[in-house]
Symmetry: C2
Subunit: 333 residues, 2 copies
């Protein structure tokens, strides 16, 4: 059975497509269609199982009711949870979501923006890559509705949803200090993304208060060589070159690999060494692996990102909003 168009419905009733369209879009009141006619049209459209052709509608209106979501990697649990909530929320507003991955590659992020532009999404939610500022600038230039998520750049006027990285990191570091740690190592990505710098700053601030800051205990690693880097860093730190008594792992992936290496070296937390981390991993639920972690309000982050974007897409002019949600240290499993 072929698709039923508005014309089919109109022909069946011997009226014009305009009338049918008006009624089906709820504009029959001010479009002045008699209630009698309106009822007949609604009934017939239903009976014929009429479904609007979205392409025609989008062509006419220039709007696709679709959101483009660009994340680093959908197979990373942090992002997959984020994506889940974004979708569930977007759906409620009648929007579909096209998800694409950058794999932390800036060129790929550029390409994905192109792809989504060519799909004519109405707006973007983007977790940007390290050097992706220029692409974000371009989108802003072109007036695309846009919300940055999780990460942002300074010196750029754009809506953003993230967490209180500085505060939360300070809290996590404070926790280790309260446990009696004196020499706490931070393992963090080498990157100029602001949210990472804030995590570092929070750590530094907490230590500085007690005059315990030692820049040699900050270990920077590379996303591309993370497995090797982590093995090396953890091994070196534990091999006694520098005496440390605490670890602050600054992301989900870093902590998972760090803990793995520690377990491999037969070093137990929290007995042999204390550790905290940013973000959660499924593995942390296991008693043997239990580690306090900074819990991000992923649900809320997704929800707010969608809400801010939809506001931009539906209202004419909206001032950019920076929304910093609260992540707190979860001391139990």
């Amino acid at each position: 059975m072929a698709r039923v168009s508005i014309k089919d419905v109109a022909n069946r009733l011997g009226v014009s497509t305009a009338t049918v369209s008006l009624v089906l879009n709820g504009k029959d009141k001010d479009g002045r269609v008699s209630e009698n006619m309106a009822e007949k049209i609604r009934k017939e459209a239903k009976a014929m199982n009429y479904k609007p052709n979205n392409f025609a509608r989008a062509l006419r209106s220039g709007r696709s009711e679709t959101i483009g979501l660009i994340i680093a990697d959908i197979s990373n649990p942090f992002f997959s949870h984020l994506a889940f909530h974004i979708q569930e929320h977007a759906e409620r507003f009648g929007y579909s979501v096209i998800i694409t991955n950058t794999n932390e590659d800036t060129a790929k992020m550029g390409k994905m923006i192109s792809v989504l532009k060519s799909r004519q999404v109405d707006g973007f939610i983007i977790v940007p890559t390290e050097n992706g500022k220029k692409y974000i600038d371009e989108l802003l230039q072109d007036q695309f509705p846009l919300v940055l998520l999780d990460r942002y750049f300074s010196g750029i006027n754009v809506s953003y949803v993230g967490v209180n990285n500085f505060q939360a990191s300070m809290q996590a570091t404070d926790y280790l200090l309260k446990c009696g740690c004196k020499r706490i190592a931070l393992v963090i990505y080498k990157t100029n993304l602001r949210h990472m710098q804030e995590r570092r700053d929070g750590y530094v601030a907490a230590l500085a208060k007690y005059d315990l800051y030692d820049s040699r205990l900050i270990k920077e690693i590379d996303y591309r060589t993370i497995v090797n880097d982590m093995n090396r860093v953890v091994f070196d730190l534990m091999a006694g070159k520098e005496k440390i008594d605490g670890f602050f792992f600054s992301t989900n992936t870093i902590s998972t690999l760090g803990l793995k290496k520690l377990a491999e070296l037969n070093i137990k937390t929290p007995d042999d060494i204390k550790a905290v981390c940013f973000d959660k991993n499924d593995a942390f639920d296991f008693p043997g692996i239990a580690i306090p972690f900074v819990q991000q309000p992923i649900h809320e982050m997704g929800k707010r990102a969608v809400e801010l974007l939809i506001e931009q897409m539906t209202r004419q002019q909206v001032l950019p909003v920076h929304e910093e949600l609260t992540a707190i240290l979860n001391k139990f499993s």
Copy 2:
């Protein structure tokens, strides 16, 4: 700057839109446009940064170059990895993917099919829910290109990509038997989905060979109450009501919860009890949690699903294909 249409390019050169369209679609050879003109058009289109309007194109052609992917839950690592590979592969063919979740709810699966139909996707890749057969039947009736993934129904003529559940389960059970286990419990979802039944059958077949099959050792649990169910089942089994010396956890989620409960009860694997499971979880990389698992070729599954679908979408008539890939037991971390 407003969007550049084909008409703008045509006007600038003083030619008709037809000529421009022919050239830009590479039909200038058989469409017979002079090489001279073709070159001019290509150059001008590029200079004006012409991008085709996908809605107009889709309206005209009836094709959206979009695939609808329906999975249970994008935040589950098995599915998020699957989604990742499906996307990467689809992208190579110029297709975008819209992902939606069912949360194992059949009504929601029906709704998601509607949503994707209204988005006019060219085809579907679906991980169906337990009672979703009728929806799949409908799609087939309407001749939609369709590939089922991971799970399927019997008595239905549709393309499918999955793994050798029976063989792999037998292999996993065999492994426990080789370890000396005599009473092996299977924890599995209560469902009529074929792939689960195959996993059960593989387990049964392996045990039957040695006359060790005992139906009381099969524990069925419910997806909706999985956390409670798992805690109860593992506790009961270990509390001595039935003496068991091995566990076969039949999915990713089941095994994670099962191992968690065991750890909580301070029971160690493989020292205190042996265990194997179907599918992988990040936690399994940890030495303390190491457990042999059946490893599914997720990359290949995604790749083949996309390939089979694209074949259906591009050729006229294609016979349904059942593709059973090989999952093998990974005995190490």
